[in-house]
Point group: C2
């Protein structure tokens, strides 16, 4: 590689120099996390969990950003939840010592990653929902003289993975009992698959079922942990799961763990709506989560009245369940002096998104120029994080304070 | 970072050791490119372009995999097309010297990247469609004593960017003429935005319009290149654009350039259908593109009869316009000895996809076990590539021959 090529090779998209402004010092599009709402959310959810006597093991798959995992742990999180073995490895490399894999651990190469993590001294948990997997794990870790901590996953009919009923749980307990290398230490569930009908009642009932199951297993003496784990909760119904777990018996004799992920940067619509529902259910609740993640992009072309093409696409921002939401316009190109007084463009509508372009329907007489910068929000932050190898942590003046590397 | 953490930090998901089998030697899910159809596609499209007297500048945004750019250049490609300035930088770092940015170049930090590329000796082209951008580029590159090659973009009404009519082209030519730092060297378009009505006729007419426009500009003496560039073509209508460009006048006095991207790995539905259309339009055409990209994943859970949860999600595979397509099952867990005789499961249907899970509707009596491996294909390969930092180049026996790093 030539010298200039080498020098230029280091640059990921959206990778800025510290201290530069997102508006004119960074190659756009770029993803930005605002310091103040991030810090607020970290503290808010930790306080919420503690107020209900629960631990927090935030789902790390949302961000896969070790610098955020460390902030979550510094705020008081008990551990980090992950979805895959390579995610667990990345979290460990980023400094996380207590890992909860909220899926079955499948395939010897993935088991080998976990064996290395256990060997390296992590406190590791994964879930099981079938006898075949229990046997495979028992043989693999037994052959290595290691003990693997497992939680039985409870699912719902028509949902994702997990035991559907008490008979399946009983059979699984027996299967685990046949594997000396496996330590059954609690119960895991995910209420986010519940949909349709009276969802609030169904989530509450599911929370009760988790608690009843872990109590029944504890009473039967099959749990190999003094304070067995009971864990559930995504970012939508965390209040209902927290309530189900909030009882003195659990505080004293169990380890209740909540696992929301999206809360850390929240969003501008889907979880904003979920937060409004939480507030409606708990009018006395103090404060609320705030959106902290936005993607900044240039107006790329203004080919027809009423249409702006923005240099931003599926490669840069999540577009489900809602297309990217235009928030503010910084009239950089047309009026440089006005760059710090953005305009609300919440009524501009994204009508189409391609790999590298967004189509924005704007007023035919809109004051806008090619080169202006638009900040976009999203519904559901997970699928924005994985579009970036580095995100910009910015302050309220849009100055880059830090770049945060992702590990997808 | 501790020593074990350091040792484990290097592993991206899907990163295998050479010579291991995708079925049992690689952490799944993993994305695989098959050597034979890849080599076939590289040669097939190069031959197709040459047969029509056109150059090939494959769109690199599809793969953003420099090792594939190099193979495209080795097969005879004239250059590589990119969508953003950071993509151009990554392609240059990967060894590409001739870069075609098929978008307006917006924002000073992006202009700075291109100024460095020009300084480093690349042959660089970008497109323009508005006077504001022309002025901004003229000032920026003029101040640096550099010349920027620009192509005027022709668009279609209701489409994406690009001049809608001849008056806009004329005004843009005048604006470019006022900027000594800009060299107008040709015409660019993208027929992929044409939809509805008689699309074939509309694409043919658009191809004619591109040719007529570049000829008219050449005749008027405003083009600063001896063999002016005329370029278009995605992966759907490449035959029609090639036909429009295929005339002796263009072969002799112009530089016609086709820019398909997806052809390099093709796909299992969207472009498979487009290929069938190409073949129907040209029954004499020899051979065809073949699908080369698949994603391999484990059966994760079998919680109910008729439902398989697969350890594969939006983080791993494109899901638009069609959900991932189950192709073959390798019954690894249930019958290890049968691992090399996969079963066709093309009738199993993906019904839902989440960030890390696919829901597969399967026969209630299906022979399948947790740990079995399923190979999936996609519609549209672009949004699978960007889910991976490394892909596995495999031979027909599923042995990993090389890992290919992406640069998204």
């Amino acid at each position: 590689m030539s010298e200039p090529a080498k020098r230029m090779a280091a640059g990921d998209k959206g990778m800025p120099e510290m201290g530069r402004s997102l508006l004119d010092g960074v190659s756009l599009p770029a993803a930005a996390i605002f310091e103040a709402p991030l810090a607020h959310n970290l503290a808010w959810m930790q306080r919420f969990a503690e107020a209900h006597g629960a631990h927090l093991a935030p789902h790390g798959k949302t961000t896969m950003t070790p610098a955020l995992f460390r902030r979550q742990l510094e705020a008081g999180a008990w551990g980090i939840t992950l979805a895959t073995a390579p995610q667990c490895r990345a979290a460990f490399a980023g400094g996380v010592q207590r890992l909860l894999l909220a899926n079955q651990l499948i395939g010897e190469p993935n088991m080998a990653i976990v064996a290395e993590l256990i060997e390296a001294g992590t406190e590791f948990y994964c879930v099981v929902d079938g006898a075949d997997n229990v046997a495979a794990l028992g043989h693999y870790f037994g052959a290595r003289g290691q003990t693997l901590n497992v939680l039985i996953e409870l699912g719902v009919t028509g949902g994702r993975s997990g035991c559907r009923d008490a008979d399946q749980v009983e059979a699984l307990v027996a299967a685990i009992g046949e594997q000396p290398a496996l330590a059954l230490v609690g119960i895991e569930g995910y209420e986010g698959m519940i949909a349709g009908g009276d969802e609030v009642a169904a989530v509450r009932a599911y929370g009760e079922r988790l608690v009843d199951t872990v109590k029944s297993l504890r009473a039967s003496g099959v749990l190999e942990r003094e304070a067995p784990i009971v864990t559930a909760s995504g970012s939508k119904w965390f209040d209902l799961i927290a309530e189900a777990f909030d009882r003195s018996e659990l505080r004293e004799h169990y380890t209740p763990v909540l696992r929301p992920g999206c809360y850390v940067v929240h969003d501008h619509r889907l979880y904003a709506g979920a937060m409004a529902d939480v507030k409606a259910r708990h009018p006395q609740l103090e404060g609320e989560l705030k959106p902290a993640l936005e993607v900044f992009a240039h107006v790329q072309s203004l080919p027809e009245p009423g249409l702006a093409i923005v240099a931003l696409g599926k490669r840069d921002i999540g577009h489900e369940p809602d297309l990217p939401l235009a928030l503010r316009l910084y009239p950089l190109a047309s009026r440089p002096s006005a760059a710090e007084t953005p305009r609300d463009v919440g009524d501009w509508r994204t009508t189409h998104i391609m790999d590298q372009h967004v189509f924005l329907t704007i007023p035919r007489d809109a004051e806008v120029a090619v080169g202006d910068v638009i900040a976009f929000g999203t519904s559901h932050p997970c699928l924005t994080f994985d579009k970036w190898r580095r995100l910009c942590l910015v302050d309220a003046t849009l100055t880059v304070r830090e770049t945060l590397a992702t590990q997808f």
